[in-house]
């Protein structure tokens, strides 16, 4: 059995209570309640509160990861939350795919492989454009169940992980649409060429040249926050080169478009995105919204009549 994230850097005991995580937390923005923040969880745990009493708070976390790069104690806050989830009954019913038979293993040798994820799979136009622009193949196994298990804090079987990773081992590049899966893969295979879908597309000239002043470019928060140090200058340059606005706050943290926990993202519970999405748009002079994550499109369409497009759709035929 494989704990999804075995090496947590720091833990709740290191929290100094600075509250910097509140400033960027979408759940805080919605609730204005310290209990539903990394700070609140850490301080409660430091003072002897059993994990079971924090279940609502732990489940409410969207795992956007915005808190992690601002934490001065360098606590792996996403991992801290996942480890806490692992100590609780899962908030959703979980399954792991059975390992496929060896003779069905696809050959990705030298290819660019796209792990699509659920949201992009549901937007066929964006998906087809992505494939065309990037010249990639879609992985038969996109690890959707693995992403769900990771997010729920569940333990993966070694067989399932191996079945997922083995075909990818010889890929030239792995492009990952799901930010949490991207983060996890980068840890599992640190020497592999793994990038987020947003980076892959925005690097492409046919996409980049159509970004313009008046666009609000919405970075997928999870992959970005997993590597802010490495990406902040890239996005800063993209912003200045193209003139578009971005969902970055004054600390250069990506403001997530939604504030959905796992159950809300799966449609089990009703999402409550309004405050977050409206805050993102507040006071901005925007004529078009460009998203990296297809899953953000519906939230923007729900709060206004601005055109919302996926980044891949910027590439002209």
């Amino acid at each position: 059995m494989v704990a999804p994230l075995p090496n947590v850097r720091g833990d709740f005991a290191a929290c100094s209570g600075c509250s910097l995580c509140l400033l960027v937390c979408p759940v805080w923005r919605r609730t204005r309640d310290l209990r539903y923040t990394p700070h609140g969880r850490a301080k409660a745990l430091q003072n002897g509160v059993p994990v079971g009493e924090l279940k609502d708070s732990i489940d409410s976390c969207t795992l956007c990861g915005a808190c992690e790069p601002v934490c001065p104690e360098n606590i792996d806050l996403v991992d801290m939350t996942l480890n806490l989830r692992a100590q609780l009954p899962p908030s959703i019913p979980l399954q792991q795919k059975a390992a496929p038979a060896i003779n069905t293993t696809p050959d990705y040798h030298g290819k660019r492989v796209l792990l699509v994820g659920r949201a992009l799979r549901e937007h066929d136009v964006a998906l087809q454009k992505t494939i065309k622009v990037l010249g990639c193949v879609i992985a038969d196994d996109d690890g959707f169940d693995i992403a769900l298990n990771i997010e729920a804090g569940a333990t993966l079987t070694e067989a399932r992980r191996a079945a997922f990773l083995d075909p990818l081992r010889h890929a030239k590049q792995i492009i990952v649409a799901d930010g949490l899966l991207c983060r996890t893969l980068q840890r599992w295979q640190p020497r592999a060429n793994i990038i987020s879908l947003g980076i892959a597309l925005s690097r492409h000239a046919s996409v980049r040249q159509h970004l313009k002043h008046g666009d609000l470019y919405v970075i997928e928060a999870r992959a970005y926050h997993a590597n802010v140090e490495g990406l902040v200058r890239y996005y800063d340059d993209l912003r200045f080169d193209t003139g578009c606005a971005m969902n970055l706050d004054l600390q250069r943290i990506a403001i997530p478009a939604t504030a959905r926990n796992l159950r809300q993202r799966l449609g089990i519970d009703t999402p409550d995105d309004d405050a977050q999405t409206r805050w993102l748009l507040q006071g901005r002079k925007v004529t078009r919204i460009v998203v990296e994550d297809a899953g953000d499109m519906a939230a923007f369409k729900a709060v206004g009549d601005l055109p919302v497009v996926h980044l891949a759709e910027l590439a002209h035929d």
Partner: protein, 515 residues
Amino acid sequence: MDTSSSSHTGYCPVGPDSLTQIKRQQTNPARWNGTHWPDFAAALRAAGVELLETLAACGAFATDAGGTAYGMPHGVVIARDAQQIAALLKTAQQFGVPVTVRGGGLTTEGESVAFGGVLLDMTGMSHVVKVDAKTLTVRTQTGIFWHSLAEELRRDGLDYLSAPLNLTSTVGGSLNVGGIDVNSPRLGCSADQAVALQVVTPTGEIIECSETENAAQFQRAILGYGQFCVITEVTLKIRRYTPVRMQYFYYASLRTAVEDLQMLDHDDASDYSGILTMMDTAVNLLVAFDSDEREAAFNSRWKSRLRGHGELGFALRALPYFLVRPWKWAEAVYLLRRKNLLFPEFRRPEYVRNGLMQDRTVVFSRAVWKYWGSRQMVIPDLATSTEKFIAAVERGNAVCRKYFPYYTLYCVGIKLRDDHKPHYELSCIPPDASGWAYGCEFEPMMDRVYSRDHLQSFKNEIYDIGVDLGASYYRFGGMMKGYIRRALGDEVVDRHLAMKRKADPAMILNRNVVF
């Protein structure tokens, strides 16, 4: 620890070098005993106020940023609106239940820790009510973090005037204690930017107040340390946003740097100024400007008068000093390591573009939390008149040297307003200050685990300097409140205590902070 008996004998086992005859009260106050709590809780809920009594809620507020004071409230109320707070205070007054108000929780002497009773978390009231770009004012709930306010204002090309260099200070907290920015030498403290307030009195009245409306209430609310009301909304002056041009000058002498700082402040030579040190060996005077014109005027008229040096010039001068002092090489290595950590942080390209610092608070606060913060922070301070400041800094520095191998001093001036004198009484502004007050924070680096007694002795020695000099303190209460009466005198304390008793008959509101 009860040290009152030892103070009568003139010997203090906690701070043996400290002034004698001061009644020590720098320990956690006794926990409130919970009398009538169940009746209070029932009455509060009947009034429609949500009261959280779970361990998860109370445990989250058990300490403050200082991490030396610990206390558990009986229950937590998350502030939502003035009516809810009025109901809370009325009920608390009726049952004699203490209410401790918390903003960002950035106190270091336990001022925002509830030793029983109710903890009122103001961050629940953190919405901007209205931005008025024409009058350059903003109306906001006071539980908002200054940084969150900046995020909102910047969408309209606006900015706050003056706020602590800490992203998670709240507006309400700063209104109560002052709030010092590196532009305070020009603009005064954050609290001076308030135009009007909505407050809830300890007996539950909701009042609008300003210099012209309910002026007495306004005077007591600003810099009132939460004794006379809960401030729920404020109208603040704001301004157009400008990025900042920074310049740094390095000194080997605290005295020289402070003299130059005061010269710049007196001459209005820069828009921002302050001193940040690595011990007393590398003293950094920072100056900054909102415009090219101001910087050009500084460069032509004042820059050559400063006795500090640029980074290279300072390094060249420091080299021979350390070469002939081998016993100081460890310190030199520390300085180099510290410089290599800090300087890139202050120049991160995403925050500094084309030589302009986009958000000073982001840059400084991130560095402060990263390189100074820890689960335990001890930051005693002294606030003095211009004339006494060099003595305070030098004496405090000697205390730091005595107790810690590595430390930082942070010095900044506060422009005083004659018309705000009533606000300043019994506050961090020393009574003998005119024109400017100056504050210095003494912050040891927690490079190892120090005993509580060691830290307490250090604080006592710093605070004793304040008594000796006739100064005041920025950290004005909590576990150091025993110093207030001694430093500022019985007459003013008793007068304010009488006002407090009148406004708050059951003495429920922030009862352990000042009196």
